[in-house]
Amino acid sequence: MPATVVAIASGKGGVGKTTTVANIGVALALTGARVVCIDGDIGLRNLDVVMGLENRIVYDLVDVIEGRCKLRQAMIRDKHIPELQLIPAAQSRDKNAVSQGDMIRLCGDLRQLADYVLIDSPAGIERGFRNAIAPADRVLVVTNPEVSAVRDADRVIGILEADGRKEPALIINRLKASLVRQGEMLSAEDVLDLLSIPLIGLVPEDERVLMGSNRGVPVAHEPSSSSGMAFRDIARRLAGESVPFGELGSRLSFWKRLFSRRRTR
């Protein structure tokens, strides 16, 4: 079966998009799926360092597009999971080196080689973003429960709607359950109410995400981490499984949570 092409976008930078791509890539590959991650941020590549593959780069996305290498030569195999591969962005070129047509052709070739192609879109809503969504069958929008990130996510969703694309799905990243309960952070319900698109992932704030990035080993490798578990849940939902979200990010009081826990026993 040809691959599903998934673009991961956000509008605002710094919401954890690249980390999300790396972790969903790891989580999908751990299930045995063949996954190719593409860094779509020409000139500002980062997916390679988050995945710990920065020392293995010989060719990049622009080399493939401009015919300096074959597609397979630019695909870097992950150190830990052979099913996971990366096509890095060019660091010394500008975003005009790639067009929407180039991305559609590239992903067309990759569809025969993988089960999932994940494209890390650059921040913003300009050329790089348009390139990332052009070949995508699905778009995942990443946001933080924070005013500017939600506003920019809404802008991205509006552009996707205007393009007549299939409804995107939302990932709420860096949710702090304690702050939500204190009423000092937007809850998942708040964000969903504002953006009105389906939710595919709720990722808690977790210091192990940073540690994983530091080591070049995404947190989805760690079975005991809460964020790693959240990324693995996203991968399962992406594969069509129905996975419940739990109570993370809900503004239920201590007593209500206690009561609902007792009821479900």
Binding site: V147, R151, R155, I157, G158, M185, L186, D193, L194, L195
Partner: protein, 85 residues
């Protein structure tokens, strides 16, 4: 004055501000333009009805990803119609 002042948490404030900003972004209408629209609608309705002291509330409400324009008036009675219309 109460010694313990009731503290309003920040998340509801963030949600209100976002709802307003998103309505403006999605419709492309600013707060100033909305005020002009309110005055225009009030004037138009005022030609037919006696509008109550509370006047009009003009709101852009969220309806999923669509926006609903709602104008609400307190009216006491219709104005006398001119016969030569």
């Amino acid at each position: 004055m109460s010694i313990v002042r009731r503290h309003r948490t920040s998340a509801p404030h963030a949600k209100e501000r976002l709802a307003s900003a998103l309505a403006q972004d999605r419709t492309g209408i600013s707060t100033a333009e909305l005020a002009l629209l309110r005055a225009d609608v009030l004037e138009a309705v005022g030609r037919y009805f006696v509008v109550g002291r509370r006047g009009a509330r003009v709101l852009v409400l969220k309806d999923g990803r669509k926006q609903r324009f709602v104008a609400e008036f307190t009216v006491s009675r219709a104005k006398a119609r001119r016969r030569n219309l």
